[in-house]
Amino acid sequence: MKKLTTMVVHLFLIVASVISLFPFVWMLMGMTNSSSEILKGKFSFGSMLMENIHKLLDMTSLGAAFWNSAIIAIIGTVGTLLLSSMAGYGFEIYHSKSKSRLFGLLMLSMMMPFAAVMIPLFRMFSGMGLLNTPTAVILPTITTAFMIFFFLQNTKSFPRELLQAGRVDGLSEWRLFTRIYMPTMKPTYAAAAIITFMNYWNSFLWPLIALQTQDKKTLPLVVSSLASSYNPDYGIIMVAIVITTLPSVLIFFLLQKQFVQGMLGSVK
């Protein structure tokens, strides 16, 4: 009986994995095929890989775009994690009525479609003289209600006894946060880092408006301009997509160890 359940579980997960992975296989195959082969729906590996890579490197300054994206995503993620976890911790641990009202207000900010605030925001950054800089891309989302909310909800299951114990040991409030809360919440930070990195790495609408010159463009902007020509070359696009996707996958690989059962136990 137990064996049967395990088999059913595996079967279910295998089906889910195949469905999830299918596009990646197709993408990797696409990298090695010509555009017309991709359009004809060829589902096998071809021999165009090097040619596609060469063409892509000739057509775009991919290295610069990669660097721009990396700077934005890394600084942005570190900043967001620090600021949002501080706020999530503050709102939950030092809960008060006024803070709770403030939090409710902050939540409204994530409900506004970005397209509607983009133009005033653009005007604001123009006024600050920050357009066409990584700072302009990073700042507007360096703290989001979404991430604060995520930390706040996770803090609800944070064992407060640990804080009491720390206070008894004479730790300051900041030390409680950095020495006790941060290590205990590693899985939460890991999840937040993956999601935030992805958001920065893939962000499109705002960088499109805020970045102005060719040399400041991020990867998604470069890929988008490839895909819109009259005769898009899908082989090249596939290479660009794979390159764009890899860093997020890498981050996930690095951080997923944190989702292994029992992290909390080791801290206790």
């Binding site: 596009p23 641990i93 909800q153 999601i195 895909a227």
Partner: protein, 291 residues
């Protein structure tokens, strides 16, 4: 005790002040500007004050009504499916004895890092008239002739729902998995000793312990669905007819595709804010948050 609590309440501000100030600056200031704009109408840079006319226009705008209908349909059908699926998968993967869990975890997470371009090209080719899905169904004799998935209003919506579920289930799974690490494994051990089945454990331990996170994912998914844009634009462009168009796509059209009317676009945006806020409050109540 009371005094100490007050003191700690004050202490808390040093944690929340800076992040809150940044949100107020970068979100609320622009939001206020667009609130002012929502009382104006015109084209491009030529605007005049129209009072609440834009808000009245919403109620007689067939395109807006269509977009609200489509969006709410996605919300009602898709969000529960996705969250349940994500939760079940996270629960299965949280079993320390399960083999290959690292592989499954990565595989199921991957869709949400896919670029939209590839995702769109791919879904279009799978659901093309002579695409893979039709070929499979035909060879299994499930259907007699190919289905034009993206040209039928109902099937097109099904495709969109499938696409969102495919892309975002792994994303929600991450939130659940990380939160599950905060559950003390000894609770499960104790339950196993008491003879509680895995299914029983799922409903009586996992779900209640994860309630804050389930609530979180429910609210952000509601928010995400009401602002749904990329998937629809890339896969169906809102068609056939306008059967899959979403509210966010309508805002985008009003601003950048049609003769730009940023005033009316701001009004439609506030309609989204109101809808999400009401639904979020409802979910908080339902989730038993009593504050």
């Amino acid at each position: 005790m009371e005094r100490k609590w007050n003191k700690s309440s004050l202490m808390g501000w040093q944690f929340v002040a800076l992040p809150s100030a940044l949100i107020l600056l970068f979100s609320f200031y622009p939001m206020f500007q667009s609130l002012l704009l929502s009382f104006q109408s015109g084209k491009g840079t030529v605007y005049h004050y129209v009072g609440i006319d834009n808000y009245i226009r919403l109620f007689s705008d067939p395109m807006f009504k269509q977009a609200v209908f489509n969006t709410l349909l996605y919300l009602i059908v898709q969000v529960p499916i996705m969250l349940l699926l994500g939760l079940v998968i996270a629960h299965l993967l949280n079993n320390p004895k399960l083999r290959f869990k690292g592989f499954y975890r990565t595989a199921i997470f991957l869709p949400c890092v896919t670029s939209l371009v590839s995702y769109a090209v791919l879904f279009k080719s799978i659901f093309a008239v002579d695409g893979i899905l039709n070929k499979m169904l035909l060879s299994m004799h499930v259907i007699q002739e190919p289905i034009a998935w993206l040209m039928d209003p109902i099937w097109a919506r099904v495709v969109i729902i499938a696409a969102i579920t495919w892309r975002w289930t792994g994303y929600n799974m991450i939130f659940y998995l990380s939160a599950m690490q905060n559950i003390d494994p000894s609770i499960y051990e104790a339950a196993s000793i008491d003879g509680a089945s895995k299914t029983r454990q799922f409903f009586s331990i996992t779900v209640p312990m994860l309630k804050p996170i389930i609530l979180f994912t429910a609210i952000i998914s509601t928010n995400g669905t009401l602002q749904l844009f990329d998937e629809v634009v890339n896969i169906t462009k809102g068609g056939p007819g306008n059967a899959t168009m979403t509210i966010s796509q309508y805002i985008y059209n009003l601003s950048f595709v049609y003769t730009p009317n940023f005033g009316y676009a701001a009004t439609v945006s506030y309609a989204i804010v109101v809808m999400v806020a009401v639904l979020a409050l409802f979910q908080l109540k339902l989730g038993g948050e009593k504050r």
